[in-house]
């Protein structure tokens, strides 16, 4: 069985925290590239970027075991990358290339890296929470001490599947974590305008007899510790936890949305609370030099620049791909 001890954030050294920072920078740059490629027409369809929300994915992933399960939403690039998908695989998928993460059959909203337990990004709001519950149930049945994590938005707390999931996970005491990325908007509507409680996820946890925590989702070490504690409880058989990580998206909801419905002072406040800046402060406190941080920035820039080039130069999806992978035998036959 995999080593289960995950050290508290206070015991992480400069090297560990720099790695978290670099991974966030990698996601930030990939999201920026996805935005620019969409604007220039090379990415079709839609994107829902997670720039600004990197700390939730990176902090959580670092606190999990490699064999744990992660389920995400259409705003899921950061979760795929935090679980090991490369910028190149992701950008190639967005650009409909044969080398894409899902061989161009998923697109931006469905990034998946099953080989490292990232079991998908789902575009029907709330649909993946029951799946995470099922993965946790399966872990229990197989006796593996794995945990499953569902990441979802604030808007997701008002759909039935959210409440069905919390209740079932609670009564079966399953090793599942419900991590809400509260970015304060469901599409274009402030969450407070459509939700009767101030903390859309955490305030509902009590109704299902679940513990909850509201945390600064932009501080990667805070996220890391909250997820570490919740995962430890889950592995010990103490059941699910609801974590509400407050964060903010830097881009609009999707595509080219300029997000003008957000007040300027609110945007400014959150841009001043950027997860990358917070991590840089953490690195400063650990005596990491500016030079070392800049080198990490340069490495991330290089990886993403190379990824953009590689994705651009990759072959388009093979048309035959449209007809594969319906069934487990790889085919699509529905009749004799």
């Amino acid at each position: 069985m995999t080593e289960t001890t995950v050290r508290p954030a206070s015991e992480l050294d400069a090297h560990d925290v720099l790695a978290l920072y670099e991974q966030m920078q990698l996601i930030r740059r990939t999201e920026r590239a996805a935005h620019d490629l969409f604007m220039s027409g090379l990415v079709k369809g839609t994107t829902h970027l997670a720039a600004g929300q990197e700390a939730v994915a990176v902090g959580a992933s670092a606190a999990l075991r490699p064999d744990d399960y992660v389920f995400a939403t259409y705003r899921g690039h950061h979760h795929a990358m935090a679980r090991g998908a490369t910028p190149e695989e992701c950008l190639a998928e967005l650009m409909s290339r044969a080398t894409g993460l899902c061989r161009a059959k998923g697109g931006s909203m469905h990034l998946t890296k099953a080989s490292s337990g990232m079991l998908g990004s789902y575009a029907i709001v709330g649909s993946h929470l029951p799946m995470a519950v099922g993965a946790a149930w399966s872990a229990r049945l197989r006796g593996t001490e794995q945990v499953a994590v569902a990441f979802f938005g604030d808007g997701t707390t008002n759909i039935g599947a959210f409440h069905e999931s919390l209740n079932l996970a609670a009564v079966w005491r399953l090793p599942v974590l419900f991590v809400c990325e509260n970015n304060f908007y469901m599409e274009y509507t402030p969450i407070g305008a459509v939700t009767a409680v101030p903390h859309p996820a955490a305030d509902r946890a009590g109704a299902h007899a679940l513990p909850s925590e509201v945390i600064d989702g932009n501080d990667v070490l805070v996220v890391y510790d909250a997820v570490r504690r919740a995962a430890e409880r889950a592995r010990a058989g103490d059941g699910p936890t609801v974590i509400e990580a407050e964060t903010y998206r830097h881009f609009g909801h999707s595509r080219a949305d300029p997000a003008t419905y957000r007040p300027a002072d609110e945007v400014e406040r959150w841009l001043d609370h950027d997860p990358l800046d917070i991590a840089r402060d953490r690195l400063g406190a650990l005596n990491v030099s500016d030079d070392a941080v800049e080198q990490a920035d340069a490495r991330a820039r290089r990886v993403v620049d190379d990824a953009i080039e590689a994705a651009k130069n990759a072959p388009d999806a093979d048309p035959a791909e449209a007809f594969t992978d319906v069934w487990a035998d790889g085919g699509n036959a529905w009749r004799t």
Binding site: H110, G120, G134, V326
Partner: protein
């Protein structure tokens, strides 16, 4: 072993056989454990396999089917029960958007070996929200296999194939057939998904049926024989894969096709079947194709009214005689 078994008992027997041979098979659903199922189709399972294999759930159709999906993606073979097939509407997201899509949209990264079992169909006077034949709801979505047995031995054989399938299967158990009896399935009996069964040989007309309409077709065929019309009866057993080849082969002999469905004419599975026959088997036909399906109204409560809506033996016999005279 008894020389007959009810369709109802065959459901539990089919599940139990697979649970004995494969520890990754687990069941979940409302009232399936201690209560042994609202339709008594899970009798004995909790007793034999215990609470780690047979799980009673809250009334949470999305969580039931969604959790089955998550478990199937991570190494289990869950068998989820949705008590009445009408309630598939409460978890239709999983039937329409999640389960059939996830393998495809991830480029083949995951498999979903699960079974959703559900009690389907009318004839019991349960009214508009507990009587529907909804196989057409599922048939509308590529990516799901569909089994709908008409006999006890097929219940066992198709259950084995469904649970062993690496693809998701929706398994319709017909409420009107639960009390019917048939010979028990042989040990190790498996019916490959997508293979129709010829229930009666005939030369003049092919009656294609599914689940509850199979006994209707057989009764009609008996009466038709008295009128000098020899009807072949094909039980499709599955809608996906759809055994079009068996239908076309029968038409080579009979050249007349009647499709008998319990789901509404509007959007019913027969529409797809006959369109394939029109496309690929037109030359085999000597008469127009007939579809006999439920009327396009919600199902009424009173027996006399329900009988107006769901095609019975009289209606089928009459329509086939008209066609035979063509």
């Amino acid at each position: 072993m008894a020389d007959v078994i009810t369709y109802r008992d065959a459901v539990a027997e089919g599940i139990a056989r697979e649970m004995r041979r494969d520890p990754s098979v687990v069941c979940l659903g409302e009232d399936i454990g201690a209560a042994e199922g609202v339709f008594k189709t899970t009798v004995g399972l909790l007793k034999e396999f215990g609470p780690d294999r047979v799980w009673d759930t809250p009334i949470s159709e999305q969580a039931i089917v969604g959790a089955a999906m998550g478990a199937a993606m991570t190494g289990m073979r869950p068998v989820a029960e949705i008590m009445f097939s009408d309630f598939l509407a409460c978890c239709y997201d999983y039937i329409a958007n999640e389960i059939p899509k996830v393998r495809y949209m991830t480029g083949g990264q995951v498999t979903v070996p699960l079974v959703v079992r559900t009690a389907n169909g009318g004839g019991l006077g349960f009214g508009a929200q507990h009587s529907q034949a909804v196989e057409n709801w599922v048939f509308a979505v590529p990516g799901l296999k569909i089994a709908a047995p008409s006999t006890s031995d097929d219940v066992v054989g198709l259950m084995a194939a469904a649970i062993r399938s690496d693809d998701p299967v929706v398994f319709f158990e017909h409420k009107g057939l639960l009390a019917t009896k048939g010979p028990p399935a042989a040990e190790g009996h498996v019916v490959e998904l997508g293979r129709a069964r010829t229930m009666r040989d005939g030369d003049d007309v092919t009656l294609v049926a599914l689940a509850s309409t199979v006994p209707v077709a057989l009764d009609a065929a008996e009466r038709l024989a008295g009128e000098g019309v020899s009807a072949e009866v094909i039980d499709l057993r599955c809608l996906v894969p759809l055994d079009v080849a068996a239908v076309l082969a029968s038409l080579e002999k009979t050249s007349r096709l009647v499709v008998i469905e319990e789901n509404p004419y509007q959007g019913g599975w027969g529409g797809t079947l006959v369109s394939v026959v029109a496309d690929e088997g037109f030359d085999l036909l000597d008469a127009p194709i007939k579809r006999i399906a439920a009327a396009c109204v919600p199902l009424p409560f009173a027996d006399a009214l329900e009988a107006q809506v769901i095609p019975g033996v009289d209606a089928v016999t009459e329509r086939v005689l008209e066609l035979a005279a063509y």
